[in-house]
């Protein structure tokens, strides 16, 4: 009769490379999605804040629809619908795309909030000094808004990492799927899901800490 305890540690040891690769995939998906989402989100956020009525409406529809559906639905939609349109996305790409679109909606909303929350006096002082809109935006508004947004953005990063679990459903071999494959082999279900949870916890916790550190460093004194 196998001593389950040593069995677990042994199993963990032989699975470590798979778990590591899975973690790498999860982090890659998340990182790419965040990059895409942040850039796209900033642009949409700018459209929301400064755009004309057409841009603002389009941006608003985008944000409200994306934020009105669960991430899982978004992921599955991207994966299945795009095939119909002849775009055969590999699971990894579909995952990045859907998570990117998802995080963009959040980034857009927080950008709008950050910019609109800025004290009106800042724009007035810049205007009074003769600064153009572009100069005001780059030198006065954005630096302050970014500091405001940072905590929320870190949150979105963590949510995206957590969202990357869901891409296991479309077949991306990240942490969750790897864990399930390991469990299929050794039936140590509870223990390995615990390991899986632990890995996510470590990732999220580190991101949180890193975020707090950066927050402190760039804080306005």
């Amino acid at each position: 009769m196998m001593n389950l305890n040593t069995g677990f540690w042994h199993e963990l040891w032989i699975s470590i490379d798979d778990l590591a690769i899975g973690t790498g995939i999860a982090l890659s998906v998340s990182a790419l999605a965040i990059i895409m989402g942040t850039i796209l989100g900033l642009l949409i956020g700018l459209a929301l804040t400064y755009g004309n009525i057409v841009l603002r409406t389009l941006a608003r529809i985008y944000v409200d629809v994306i934020r009105g559906i669960p991430v899982l639905v978004l992921i599955l939609t991207f994966f299945y619908v795009l095939t119909i349109w002849g775009i055969n996305l590999k699971p990894f790409q579909a995952g990045v795309l859907s998570l990117g679109v998802f995080s963009a909606a959040h980034v857009a909303e927080m950008t709008r909030g950050g910019l609109q929350n800025l004290n009106k006096g800042q724009t007035e002082a810049a205007k009074a000094l003769g600064l153009s809109f572009r100069q005001t935006f780059l030198s006065v508004l954005m630096p302050q808004a970014l500091r405001q947004i940072l905590p929320t953005w870190i949150n979105t990063v963590i949510e995206t990492v957590k969202g990357s679990t869901l891409v296991s459903i479309i077949g991306v071999v990240e942490i969750t799927l790897v864990t399930q494959q390991i469990i299929a082999r050794n039936f140590l279900t509870m223990k390995f899901y615990a390991v899986c949870a632990l890995i996510y916890f470590c990732i999220g916790f580190s991101i949180e800490r890193a975020g707090k550190y950066v927050e402190k460093k760039i804080a306005i004194k």
Partner: protein, 255 residues
């Protein structure tokens, strides 16, 4: 050859349905310090903010050093000048705000050099020199690398004055600059303004500090309900006026 640095003619401004300025005529000569007093809602702050086009106006004209700002009459039709031109004309004036509006993420010196570099295209070293010169003049020679959050209210406002005046404007506009300060910090700011007036800076001052207005101004204007009700020397306005509303206003301010 006009010495008039500011000419406001028949200025009309409304916020939606509410008429706030109902035909204001005002002129400033070079080197004059003019104070505007009046109760809230009289239109004094709005008037000031029209001069650097932080507020749009619907009727009348404003000329700074002969140049019409904000709107042009083209073939009898009133047309707004381009944003580019308006932005450019704003540098003709300098404004100091009630709530300072310093840029909190920049040091005192950086607050001053920002527009010098971006608008007047001064080099970094030139801008820094100018910044330090004016920081010295407002009594803060060694606070250049402090952030607004590290300065007291009076210090922040003095930095704000330095920031505006470093741009070498033709007119300085002061919008109730001491109203948000603790009493003991008011004098350090007023002293700076008095010094600048003494050195010949043309300025338009909206203020509640009656004694200060009496001491520093060449001319005092009392606004009431969107028009200039009384205009004259400090003596005329503060001591010798028969105007009912003005007398009521002055007695409520314990001048």
């Amino acid at each position: 050859m006009s010495n008039k640095v500011l000419e406001i003619s028949n200025l009309h401004k409304a916020f939606g349905e509410l008429q706030v300025l109902k035909g204001v005529d005002l002129s400033l000569n070079k080197g004059e310090a003019v104070s505007i007093i009046g109760s809230s809602g009289s239109g004094k702050t709005t008037l000031l903010r029209c001069v650097n086009l932080l507020e749009e106006f619907q009727g009348g004209s404003i000329k700074i050093d002969g140049k019409t700002i904000g709107y042009n009459e083209v073939n009898g039709k009133r047309k707004r000048l381009s944003n580019k031109e308006i932005t450019h004309d704003r540098a003709l004036t300098g404004m100091v705000f009630q709530s300072f509006n310093l840029f909190p993420h920049l040091t005192a010196a950086e607050n001053i050099t920002l527009a010098l570099k971006k608008v007047q295209r001064k080099s970094k070293s030139e801008a820094l020199e100018i910044a330090h010169h004016w920081l010295g003049k407002v009594g803060l020679p060694d606070r250049g690398s402090s952030y607004p959050g590290q300065l007291s209210g009076g210090q922040q406002q003095r930095v704000a004055i330095a920031r505006a005046i470093a741009m070498n404007p033709l007119i300085m506009l002061f919008d109730e600059v001491t109203s948000a300060l603790d009493p003991e910090l008011i004098n350090e700011v007023l002293d700076v303004i008095k010094t600048l007036a003494g050195e010949g800076m043309t300025m338009l001052i909206v203020t509640h500090e009656m004694r200060f207005a009496y001491e520093v101004s060449k001319k005092v204007i009392f606004m009431n309900e969107g028009v200039i009700a009384v205009e004259g020397t400090p003596e005329d306005v503060f001591k010798n006026s028969d105007h009912e509303r003005l007398k009521a206003f002055l007695s409520s301010t314990k001048f």
